[in-house]
């Protein structure tokens, strides 16, 4: 039995995950908590949010995110990849910066129109 705090939403439910029992989750306030509890112990993932360089915008950095969660272990590899990116304004919220980031199926997208 592993005790986890759900990070799906700001509520922060206290979950108990039973590894012996098919990762059955208790203490979750919604179905997404059950999914999180199981995934956190089998294949933990996170959405990555960061910035990349941009030329010609109001500021020097443009915020970006992965459009879905990627494996936790790939965070620093992804950050390295972002260091090499440079955008030119204008960009629109939702524009794809890098498709299929590190083979995860997640796209890196712009989160602010600049």
């Amino acid at each position: 039995m592993t005790h986890l705090i759900c990070i799906i939403c700001p509520k922060g439910c206290h979950l108990n995950v039973d590894e012996q029992n098919g990762y059955a989750v208790t203490g979750n306030g919604c179905p997404r908590g059950a999914e999180y509890g199981k995934k956190e112990l089998t294949n933990p993932t996170r959405v990555l949010t960061s910035t990349v360089k941009i030329k010609g915008g109001l500021h020097r950095r443009c915020p970006v995110k992965t459009d879905r969660a990627i494996p936790k272990g790939l965070m620093f590899d992804a950050m390295k990849l972002l260091n090499g990116v440079e955008l030119s304004a204008p960009v629109r919220r939702g524009d794809v910066v890098l498709a299929d980031l590190l083979g995860t199926g997640a796209n890196l997208v712009v989160t602010k129109s600049m």
Binding site: I7, P10, G12, V47, P63, T111, K112
Partner: protein, 423 residues
Amino acid sequence: MKQYDVVVIGAGPAGLAAACEAYQNGAGKILVVERDKEPGGILNQCIHNGFGLHYFKEELTGPEYAGRFIEMLNNTNAELMLDTMVLAVTEDRKISMINPRDGYFTVQAGAVVLAMGCRERTRGAIGIPGTRPAGVFTAGAAQRYVNIEGYMVGKKVVILGSGDIGLIMARRMTLEGAKVAACVELMPYSNGLNRNIVQCLNDYGIPLYLSHTITEIRGKRRVEGVVVSRVDGGGKPVPGTERFFDCDTVLLSVGLIPENELSRSAGIALDPRTKGPVVYENMETSIPGIFASGNVVHVHDLVDFVTAESQRAGAAAADFCRRKEQPGGEPAVAIESGENVGCTVPQHIRPDRIDQYAEVFFRVGRVFSNSEIEVASGGRVLSVFKREHMAPGEMERIVIPKKFLENASGGAVTVSAKEAKEN
């Protein structure tokens, strides 16, 4: 003098929502004044996700949340004046401001919404002993440098305070290649959201020292390290528990203060507990026609609630300038804070002005498990709300039915929190 129906001061999440809602409620000429060069306020630098779960039912980053409201505002006829600083607001709703294009000028507003937000407490506010080297930042200032300006603020970091901004910056600095040696919290619990402790500290193996504080900052030109000590129950450092952390940067996440210089000089009554204006159920301040919402009133945990509160203020502002004759003198019920309850918002409710029930927000004074929130009047308990968990870091919300307020004895109800009775 230029005339507007509604003038909103600040184009952060509070101002944007208030202006959109004023438009929806029929305000004709709306002006939004913003001192920055772009709208969106602090959301622009909050590039992490977790915003909008209540309002948009999806998880957005700060810039995405702001972007949606900026688009909504662009679809109204509201005028957005950027790079403009408001200098004064008067009781009769004249607003003086200044910018590089028009110089100094004054406009007349039918109604005003104050949405100036809050600012961070600094090293001076908490008086950390030691030298005065470079490398001590508020967490939000560091966030702006890193996320917007593109500067790294340091390589080895100690964070004082475990509020959400501190936690978010612990992860952010780590991802950008810095080593975060520790997050130090004076209280025996964190004021941040649990999810942020998990995904910002635990994910990266950053230790959290509860009941500890920085007792000395060392360094001549640049921070060279900090001394951290354990504190006793009264928050005093315990001699002999000192330990040294080698670092070049200290980030402070030690609380936010509503920014109310304009409110104060306008003569608006402020609440010393929230440090924001005293407000009625529709976010009206002590001066009729001047409303306030968002972090300028009380510091929120979630932007979604800032939006909801600001929509109420915007709608009420539109309503105020539509009426030729203002109602007034309706009886108001005082919402008083009882045991373990910090200040409530609103502080006063006019039962005649609400439909079915009124929402009341507050923070509790300590951590509770299995507890009750009690609403009482004249020694009689009106209603009880059960809670499995409460903490000072999480704002509580209750709804009080109109009929309870109409029958409140002595014109007041008291909200208090305590452990649940065994039954």
